[in-house]
């Protein structure tokens, strides 16, 4: 197992990670925080949509779909 920092949209389905930092600003950042995406939060990529974007993530017991563009603004520590 190796720790690696990467943007959330690069986390493969089935992969688990912990939030490292949010690169989004302003209201976008606020919305991410409202989802409970504070640093250290566990996150798992669970399902790709038919087009591959958006992807559904398991965040604190809720399944939330994020567009790749937005997920790319969330840095995570992945264990691969």
């Amino acid at each position: 197992m190796q720790k690696q920092v990467l943007p959330l949209n690069r986390l493969p389905v089935g992969g688990k990670a912990k939030v490292n930092a949010l690169m989004a600003k302003g209201s976008e950042r606020r919305r991410m925080l409202d989802l409970g995406l504070v640093s250290g939060t566990e996150i798992e990529a669970v399902q790709k949509s038919p087009a591959g974007d958006p992807v559904a993530y398991l965040i604190r017991g809720a399944v939330i779909a994020l567009r790749n563009e937005d997920a790319g603004k969330i840095l995570v520590n992945a264990f691969i």
Binding site: D34, Q47, P50, G52, P54, V63, I64, A65, R67, E69
Partner: protein, 517 residues
């Protein structure tokens, strides 16, 4: 920790000023966070610039300075505050939420892998849509026929009763031929499809499937520069466009919300649905028998719905490149756990809250419209009735669209509620005198053919039914939700112009081929 210290510094001053009207601790926390819109609301609540009061401003500056020394400012401060809130919420959750079935996540992921995967997601979505249409079409046929023969039979008794009371002839004709017959058509055509479609659709909604539709469709909406949640409001439009316009509130970005509102009308609501079903069954499945009949009309209906969705996307794209320029905003969509739908509740809720509500609205409009049609058809102006003059006036233009004057009048009079378009058409044709009695659904086909309908008329009717001005209620709702007549005008004009152009194109192509043959 540092934030607590800062709050302790600020809270007493705020407590004194707020006088218990708002929680002082919360206010203190918000004073440290620079949220302009919240600050504005607080000022409005108190009626003056609350945080600018000298006692508070002084303490606030002090507290902020202290926090900055601790390394907490701007986004770092906000992150720390939200972090604490989330942690606290998680603690409460641990203490009081107990999962009956801890394996629900695994189960849901299995279902999601089928309903939203690359291979099966979209085909299953289309099959479900077509399946619902098929059940509605096959299921509605028989009860429609039963209802119409029962209600027309009842009409004869009513008619006899009125004569028995000694009602004058004109009153009898207004009430029976005008009002009652229009009502019967509205009920017979509308009720059975709604009573089947609404519960089925509510079942899908209740099971948690609709957010998966949004998940599957998001990429397409994004390509149109629209919001992913528009897939949800589009689904709501199948029920009622006016309700869906209100539903557009779930979209945060004003630009994308307006796009969703202006394009919602391209999915047919339940008022237009039965018209589409009726015409597609009569004209496209006429020769087929048994199962094929319903399969063909289902395919036709599914096709026209998909065409409506394509139009939604194209117009959304067009709008986002012209009058509503901008880039798509971020979005997060929850895929809630699947639930076993509560079938009894769903049926009761969809019959009473939706079916009867929509039907009630249609009946309220249909009764006066029936009387109006009768009066117009029976008041002579020179040699012809007023109705005849109106339909004659509109006829040349309507012909260009592959329709006729009567159909166009029906659409115009259907502005208060689209449910009454077909009934008005029937009443108007009947008042022309070719066929005075029309007492079953099967004779409707004959009536339309007798008035010059053919396949092209049917296609143009269905097109214009899908693409024309929103009903009165929807227009008023758009006015209310957008707060401007300008956007209401666009919502009215865009589909109307588009519909006219589409019909003219189809009719033009058809005429060209007829000319060749």
């Amino acid at each position: 920790m540092a934030i607590e210290e800062a709050i302790a510094l600020l809270q007493p001053a705020i407590e004194e000023k707020a006088q218990g009207k708002i929680d002082a601790r919360w206010l203190a926390l918000k004073a440290l966070d620079d949220d302009a819109s919240l600050r504005h609301s607080i000022d409005q609540f108190f009626g003056y610039d609350f945080f600018a009061q000298p006692e508070i401003a002084e303490k606030r500056a002090e507290a902020k300075k202290y926090l900055a020394r601790e390394g907490l400012y701007g986004e770092k401060l906000r992150d720390a505050v939200v972090g604490q809130l989330v942690e606290h919420a998680a603690e409460i959750y641990q203490k009081c939420v107990h999962l009956g079935n801890a394996a629900y996540l695994q189960r849901d992921r299995k279902i999601d892998r089928i309903l939203t995967s690359k291979k099966t997601g979209i085909p299953i979505m289309l099959l479900l849509l077509a399946g619902i249409f098929w059940l509605t079409i096959t299921g509605a046929n028989y009860p429609s026929a039963l209802l119409s023969s029962f209600l027309f039979g009842l009409g004869d008794h009513l008619s006899a009763f009125l004569s028995f009371l000694g009602a004058p002839n004109w009153l009898h004709d207004v009430l029976i031929d005008g009002m009652y017959r229009t009502l019967v058509w509205v009920v017979a055509v509308m009720l059975p499809p709604m009573a089947i479609f609404f519960p089925l659709f509510t079942l899908l909604e209740d099971a948690g499937y609709l957010p998966r539709v949004a998940f599957n469709m998001d990429r397409l909406f994004r390509k149109a520069n629209a919001h992913g949640k528009q897939a949800l409001t589009t689904c709501m439009g199948f029920g009622c466009n006016a309700c869906a316009i209100v539903g557009c509130r779930i979209i945060d970005s004003p630009r994308e919300r307006l796009i969703a509102m202006l394009t919602n009308n391209f999915v047919p609501c339940n008022g237009r649905f039965p018209s589409l079903i009726t015409i597609s069954t009569l004209f496209f499945a006429g020769a087929a028998v048994g199962l094929w009949r319903s399969v063909i009309s289902t395919a036709m209906l599914t096709g026209i719905i998909l065409f409506g969705i394509v139009l939604t996307l194209l117009v959304a794209k067009f709008l986002s490149h012209t009058i509503l320029k901008g880039v798509p905003s971020s979005f997060a969509l929850e895929l809630p756990p699947y639930r076993r739908p509560q079938i009894g509740k769903v049926i009761i809720r969809s019959i009473f809250d939706r079916t009867l509500f929509v039907l009630g609205r249609a009946v309220m409009v249909a009764a006066p419209a029936g009387i109006l049609i009768w009066v117009l058809a029976n008041t002579m102006l020179g040699e012809y009735s007023i109705l005849h003059h109106i339909t004659n006036f509109l006829d040349p233009f309507a012909r260009l669209m592959g329709l006729d004057g009567v159909i166009l009048v029906a659409f115009l009079l259907g502005f208060p509620a689209n449910e009454i378009i077909i009934p008005i058409m029937i009443m108007t044709y009947l008042s022309g005198g070719t066929l005075m009695e029309l007492e079953s659904l099967t004779s409707l086909h004959t009536l339309l053919i007798d008035h010059g309908w053919n396949l092209v008329t049917a296609i143009c009717f269905m097109l214009f039914c899908l693409v024309h001005f929103p009903c009165g209620t929807t227009c008023l709702t758009i006015r209310k939700e957008s707060g401007s007549w300008k956007w209401t005008f666009f919502a009215f004009a865009i589909p109307t112009i588009l519909g006219i152009l589409l019909c003219m194109t189809v009719n033009g192509i058809a005429s060209f081929f007829t000319f060749l043959c």
